[in-house]
Subunit: 203 residues, 4 copies
DNA sequence: GATGAATGAGTGTTCATTCAT
DNA sequence: GATGAATGAACACTCATTCAT
């Protein structure tokens, strides 16, 4: 999952071109975070201080831009998660931390999280994006789940099912609504606890 | 929640007119199930074999039509759920059955479920719709949760948090993905179990 | 100009039908006075407590209804004017009174006056309506003008030119704006004076 | 009132773009002159040999386009009028010339004149347009009127009343009808004379 | 005859995408 | 390469008119 960006950006030999691509991506992140997929290309271009044509030079179309943004955001938390996973903690601890970390997306990126969910599910999502998501973030969870199962503290069953469950536990809408009742900083912890409990073997 | 139709459809004294309204609603249900809110009024009209103007005669605008569709779908499962709740079963049993029943929406109505979620959250949802949802379906869950808490088998804490959690556990996208791995008929049960486990007190 | 109504209403042998026609006309007068030609047939029907179909049974289309309304309004002041003309007063007096009377339309019928002007000029106006207007109201002015010319107190020239001038002197928009500066009841008098002065021979 | 275009057109640095804006304005002038405000944006686009989107790129909406057209037309005669006013002639002479010049709008721009009147009166008119009209053309008349009053050749009274009167004396419908009887080139003169006479003090 | 439901052409407006400069 | 002007399909919504009941 290194250099994820390059997969979605039409690369260019000229440095300033790539600089432009980064500028656009940054702008898109900002605007998409605010407005989600409803965002206009013109708005992005404006924010990036670039012409619309330039946006299209770097990203074939709106879908691709959205996918790149999604990719960016996911990448951003990837390393942090990886560190947790490689650390020397109990599976339960790892689970809680990884989950909490993942849950931060919503707080940080507002409307991008629902957009990611959407891209993952609809035909708007580039196959390439979906694939890299699957082999990226999802694997982290797969590993935790399998570990937990092997340690016989998690329920048995197809790990993919629990991955889906975990993914759903960070549903942006839920996070948003939960955080209207309890403080935002406690939300990831609360959800992690709930999710973990769901996963744990009954005694 | 009786006579639900009358709340969102501009009713008419004429029988044929109301028949048409039903036809439109049915068509809308079908198309919305397929395409979600992106659906075009023209598509609905076409499916209902009716002019666009006729759609607008019965529903003031697209939002209202969407709300009516959502309302319909929710109503459809409401009574079933109510029966379960009034029945003579353990809280855990009630929970599982009510949940499973609710989870059927997704299987049956595809894109309408996310649409409902959307209407519940954005300003697109008529206040009337939100209110009746709150006093309708949500209360069923609230009751189950409070019961479980009183029986000391569920976790303590603000019941609203667990309501949100339960609502999220029937997220259509999750249901869809789960059912790609295990048979659709087992999906509600699986999710109910997972959700219940999350809710149960740790020993 | 007696029985003007009958010229624009599709007559019916049934009394209640004609009663309906009158009801519609009355309603149309009220609504057109408020909104002008932008008025919707449905609004008129609603005001008349009648179905839209009934409106169309009595008036072939919206234009015709508008023409009938215009005709009505003009008829309403016709007799009053005729009385003035036949009275035993100086031409100047007659002029002032007739003019003031005519100018009342605006005050009384709001948006209908511009509508009349429009009908008189565009192709929306039924030829029949235009013709009867010409042979009706306009003639009153023609007579006054000719009288004034014969008495050698008015300018010479084609009387039709002065008729047009006079008609224009009661332009609803002007009346409206004038009456924002001076009291409405003084407006007709003020305009009459101005118009008369324009017409009088220079010494 | 200099650089009038810039006030209503979204200007652009590109020459060809502004050329297009001019093309659109020209087309709009032509079509509006024919059909008035009823004109369709598509018609304008067609006439300008331009896509509808292009029209909207230059003018935020139909109202704004109409206002721009109105502005254009008024501007067109503004300078000519100003010259007359600054010239060394008697008030009566100035009056006649300025009036005649103003009256040409109708002959030249058909349905645009009523449109201007409409914009001036309804909420469709941009405040900016109304303001610039007030500080532009209207002031010319105000000045003439006040001059005439000071020279004691015009009637006394609120000058605004006479401004309204003068504005109304160039009512496009009247001009049109007058010019059906006498040659178009004599019409402004005839009207000016009539208007002047109305204004002059009685002896 | 009366009704009002149905119709669908028509309108203003938006926005992803293309392409001339 | 960059720009932003141009494009036009698409869409929500309106309303005069028709016609089944």
């Amino acid at each position: 999952m290194k250099n994820m960006n390059s997969e979605f950006i039409i690369s260019s030999r000229r440095k300033d071109a790539n600089k432009n691509a980064a500028k656009i991506l940054e702008a898109a992140k900002k605007i998409f975070a605010l407005k989600g997929y409803e965002t206009t290309i013109e708005e992005v271009a404006l924010e990036a201080q670039v012409g619309v044509g330039t946006v299209y030079r770097r990203f074939n179309n709106k879908h691709q831009l959205a996918n790149a943004v999604a990719y960016e955001v996911i990448s951003e938390i990837y390393e942090e998660q990886e560190d947790i996973l490689k650390s020397n903690q109990s599976t339960v601890e790892k689970f809680k931390k990884a989950f909490a970390c993942y849950a931060k997306i919503t707080a940080k990126y507002g409307e991008i999280h629902p957009m990611i969910v959407d891209l993952l599910v609809t035909e708007r999502g580039e196959e390439e994006f979906k694939a890299s998501f699957l082999t990226g973030l999802k694997n982290l969870y797969a590993e935790i789940i399998t570990n937990g199962q092997n340690e016989n503290i998690f329920r048995q069953g197809d790990p993919r099912l629990y991955e889906i469950f975990l993914q759903n536990m960070i549903n942006p809408q839920m996070v948003k609504k939960i955080s209207e009742i309890i403080p935002l900083e406690e939300t990831p912890g609360f959800l992690a606890d709930l999710a973990l409990n769901g996963l744990l073997k009954k005694k």
